[in-house]
Symmetry: C2
Subunit: 200 residues, 2 copies
């Protein structure tokens, strides 16, 4: 019985199935797509995979991914140098940039405190954040961590660590997602929306 | 505003988002996975993508994908040479092989008749099928096409084409999927299950 494909196809399917969010059926579909795609497109994909490892580095100031360090945000003089938004991952920077509501700087921790996964404060990019606060230019730190257990733990750790510096420390508001339905909100979210209510 | 990532990462995200079944969020997740994966694993993936185009060809007999033509199934003398199972795509061969119920040969059409997508019988691998039937070795043809409009059209086209040859022509049974619930079966499937009922 031939229960696996012949050589190169099976190897490609196995390699794709190891990527996050791709199962064996999806990997098979992609492999056959690549097989039928034109040479240029597939060579482009293969090059992009190799290139990303060679070219991408971490910004020496904020820890975000970039090709030239300091990153375009850190080296942009038009950004508000008095605010730093602390996030867990580089993709969180992109999410906040897309809101077009924020014009300050960022600091990427590279994760959140998670004792179960052996991530302690010393494993995060916190030391460089403290260095950045030394020159008194920064007036506000926004803690924009994920609203889950690890994010909350990191938020309270950082707010304890930073509060002696006399800088304004804020955090993202919790509450009902825009466009959602009050009926389907979980009680913790609804509780946060109530306690954080705004006068109109 | 930096609404796209810097260079190489964005290129990788865009390339992955073009693959079937991967959206922009999934592509971003994969790109960051590749960025943090070890060099060997990513080089392996890039090589597999290029290699598949170089190494994989179509079997000159059955049209299945393989590295050496004729494919392992066509060149296996232990397979039942009197039966040919006609399928649409190479992945259908794998699906049938996994049942371990079939020991005959295959013929891969490379698609199904679909006037909307401009796929006519001449675009399918049908001529080589007729050639294979010339030496009187084949006693049964199993039409194992997808149970949808295109598959049904191709099944009836092929059964009309092949019936003058005096070979047994069969098709896959339609009916209730094993493990499913009668209550949730659509009426066409349930109708097929009724008309194709078996005495026990």
């Amino acid at each position: 019985m031939a229960l696996a494909y012949d050589g190169a196809i099976q190897r490609l399917i196995d390699d794709f199935a190891q990527l996050p969010g791709i199962g064996p059926k999806g990997a098979q579909r992609i492999a056959f797509y690549i097989l039928s795609a034109d040479q240029e497109e597939t060579r482009d994909l293969a090059e992009a995979i190799v290139e990303v490892k060679d070219k991408v580095r971490f910004c020496e100031i904020c820890g975000n991914v970039c090709e030239i360090s300091p990153c375009p945000i850190c080296s942009d003089p038009r950004r508000d140098q008095s605010m730093i938004c602390v996030v867990e991952e580089p993709k969180d920077v992109m999410s906040i940039e897309r809101t077009r509501e924020y014009r300050g700087l960022y600091h990427v921790l590279g994760g959140a405190i998670n004792p179960m996964a052996n991530v302690a404060p010393r494993d995060l990019n916190i030391e460089k954040l403290l260095e950045r606060l030394k020159d008194d230019q920064v007036k506000e730190i926004i803690l924009a961590l994920d609203p889950n257990i690890e994010g909350e733990a990191t938020t309270s750790y950082l707010s304890r660590l930073l509060s002696p510096l006399g800088i304004t420390i804020s955090r993202l508001a919790s509450g009902l997602p825009v466009g959602s339905d009050l009926e389907y909100a979980d009680e913790i979210t609804l509780g946060r929306a109530l306690s954080g209510r705004l006068t109109v």
